[in-house]
């Protein structure tokens, strides 16, 4: 049943990788080809083609309801949970069609982690929140689990704040801490890709800044796709930006280009705040 994806990291960077957007020499990791998605009869995504380069931060921007979350959830097949969703086109990750019949969705989700808009720590201890996924993977050795928990909390810049209360409830943390815990939980199982759906939208500026620093740090190791409504945030942390409008990909380019010299009028209007 398990159809292992080819090791995504082992891919050698080909010179001038083919990708519609500038990728700074980073090969495409997620390739979306003529993707349309329907909720029942309503089309939420319309004929989208583009690629997400490896180990860069790609931002999705666009007005509410334009399909950013829907597209993001295509990458780890979270849309499978919704009845009546129909897909056309293909999504390939590491060259593998993730909607192919023999793909193991469980394996896919271990390689494509997700952080949600509303932080959703389990009502368990801080430690157990992270250990949960490790135990699911069959890890039993206590010392090994404890090591990875600590390492993940360090990576998520949360260790110093929680090291004395690892066995207290995760729900006692502040909103920003909870979200960093969710990030720690997602990276503990070492995915290749981290999907983040407005991870800082419910946080104050200070907590948001921490998450942004964290993202810049994590991109050394992970390919990150982030949905955001905050233009400054997209400009600060992303390398490439995709602008969506009414289910269509309007423009996809280097972030600096999108924000200073976009090719399309709609993009310019949106990033300068003239609509949306």
């Amino acid at each position: 049943m398990t159809a292992p994806l080819p090791s995504l990291r082992a891919r050698v960077t080909p010179p001038d990788a083919v990708s519609p957007a500038p990728t700074h020499g980073h090969p495409p990791l997620i390739e979306v080809d003529r993707l349309s998605l329907y909720y029942g009869a309503a089309r939420a995504l319309h004929d989208i083609s583009f690629a997400v380069p490896e180990r860069l931060v790609t931002a999705f921007i666009g007005p509410s309801g334009c399909g950013k979350s829907t597209l993001l959830r295509c990458f780890n097949r979270m849309n499978d949970l919704i009845d009546n969703v129909r897909l056309e086109g293909t999504v390939r990750i590491g060259g593998e069609d993730i909607y192919a019949r023999d793909i193991d969705v469980i394996e896919l989700r271990k390689r494509v982690g997700m952080v949600f808009q509303r932080s959703n720590p389990f009502p368990k201890t801080i430690f157990d929140n992270i250990a949960y996924a490790l135990r699911l993977q069959g890890l039993r050795r206590k010392s090994e689990i404890a090591d990875i928990v600590e390492q993940s909390l360090h990576q998520a810049a949360l260790w110093e704040e929680v090291k004395d209360r690892l066995h207290a409830s995760a729900l006692g943390l502040s909103g920003g801490q909870q979200q960093r815990l969710c990030i720690a939980r997602a990276i503990a199982i070492k995915p290749d890709i981290l999907l983040m759906d407005e991870p800082a939208s419910a946080l104050d500026p200070l907590a948001t800044a921490k998450i942004e620093d964290l993202i810049l740090d994590l991109k050394q190791q992970f390919t990150i796709v982030i949905v955001t409504h905050n233009m400054q945030q997209a400009a600060r942390i992303s390398d490439a930006t995709a602008f969506f409008y009414l289910g269509e990909l309007i423009e996809h380019d280097a972030t600096s280009k999108i924000f200073t010299n976009p090719a399309r009028k709609q993009t310019e209007d949106y990033v300068t705040g003239r609509f949306g």
């Binding site: 780890n76 949970l81 394996e107 949600f116 389990f122 009502p123 949960y132 939980r185």
Partner: protein
């Protein structure tokens, strides 16, 4: 206003029972053996009935909780919401809740004793002159009660499952958990208090019922306590019925009658208390994490 009316009626009923029944209560009465002459105020005891009622309620709980919880999990987590099959199950559960308890008694007689018990006897004890499984027994009475209280447990469990935020399930699934792992490790622990509430309601409903056990297990008189699941048992609720309908002199046996009612109430309360204490413990553990 209506609340006061209800409280007043409740106080009237309980006051009357405890006033009249309190005098008949004594350790000898509660823990004493049933006498062949169960209408003799001086020697009557109800311990076998206490034992029988407790046994059938506890056994019923052991049957109804796993089946009810599994059904509720199937309905909320797995069944496609709008499929005809799901609708049929839901309709059946709702209808089951409206069936009079005497019908459950007849069902137990026809299904458990004749069909299931009779079949077991054919295969396991083909040479036995007397039925072993195919007769009224503790296990059949408990199973009949379990069928009767199934809707309560299913509905209570479903409600508590639905109250658990989608975000928690998504978090688990996004980490590569299977649906079953998500249900068992994230959803069920949160739903436990609600499930126990269902159990408490089931116990309350079942403890005082006579009709479902009338044909399926309750005995008028037995010289000893039931020794196995296939034995019949004496029962407090049934005994109340016997005392109030079969007594040769209703005035003289009144203290026994009221005493038995009080013991039945106390036992129901005690069984509920156990469940309530367990639930309080579970809640405390959950709250520690909230």
């Amino acid at each position: 206003m209506a609340t006061f009316l209800i409280l007043a009626i409740l106080a009237l009923i309980l006051g009357n029972i405890f006033l009249q029944g309190g005098t008949g209560l004594s350790p000898r009465f509660i823990f004493g053996n049933a006498d062949k002459d169960m209408f003799d105020v001086a020697s009557a005891g109800v311990w076998p009935m206490v034992f029988g009622t407790a046994a059938r309620v506890i056994l019923m709980t052991l049957f109804v909780i796993p089946v009810g919880v599994t059904t509720a999990i199937y309905l909320t987590e797995y069944a496609p919401a709008l499929s005809p099959f799901t609708r049929i199950i839901r309709g059946a559960v709702n209808n089951l809740a409206g069936v009079p308890s005497i019908v459950f008694g007849l069902f137990g007689l026809g299904f458990f004793i004749s069909a299931v018990g009779g079949t077991l006897d054919v295969f396991l004890y083909p040479d036995s002159p007397k039925p072993v499984w195919g007769k009224a027994a503790l296990i059949w009475a408990s199973l009949t009660l379990a069928v009767m209280t199934l809707p309560v447990v299913i509905v209570a469990t479903e409600e508590s499952l639905r109250a658990i935020p989608l975000g928690l399930r998504e978090a688990s699934l996004a980490l590569g958990a299977t649906k079953l792992q998500t249900v068992l490790r994230v959803v069920l622990p949160q739903a436990l208090p609600g499930i126990l509430t269902g159990g408490i309601l089931a116990v309350s409903r079942a403890a005082g019922e006579v009709a479902p056990i009338l044909f399926t297990g309750a005995a008028y008189y037995m010289a000893s306590l039931p020794q196995s699941l296939t034995d019949q048992f004496m029962d407090l609720a049934y005994h109340v019925f016997v005392l109030s309908t079969q007594s040769p002199d209703i005035e003289k046996t009144r203290p026994i009658l009221y005493g038995t009612v009080v013991v039945l109430l106390l036992l129901t309360f005690a069984l509920n208390l156990v469940a309530i204490l367990i639930r309080a413990r579970v809640r405390r553990n959950l709250r520690r994490l909230a």
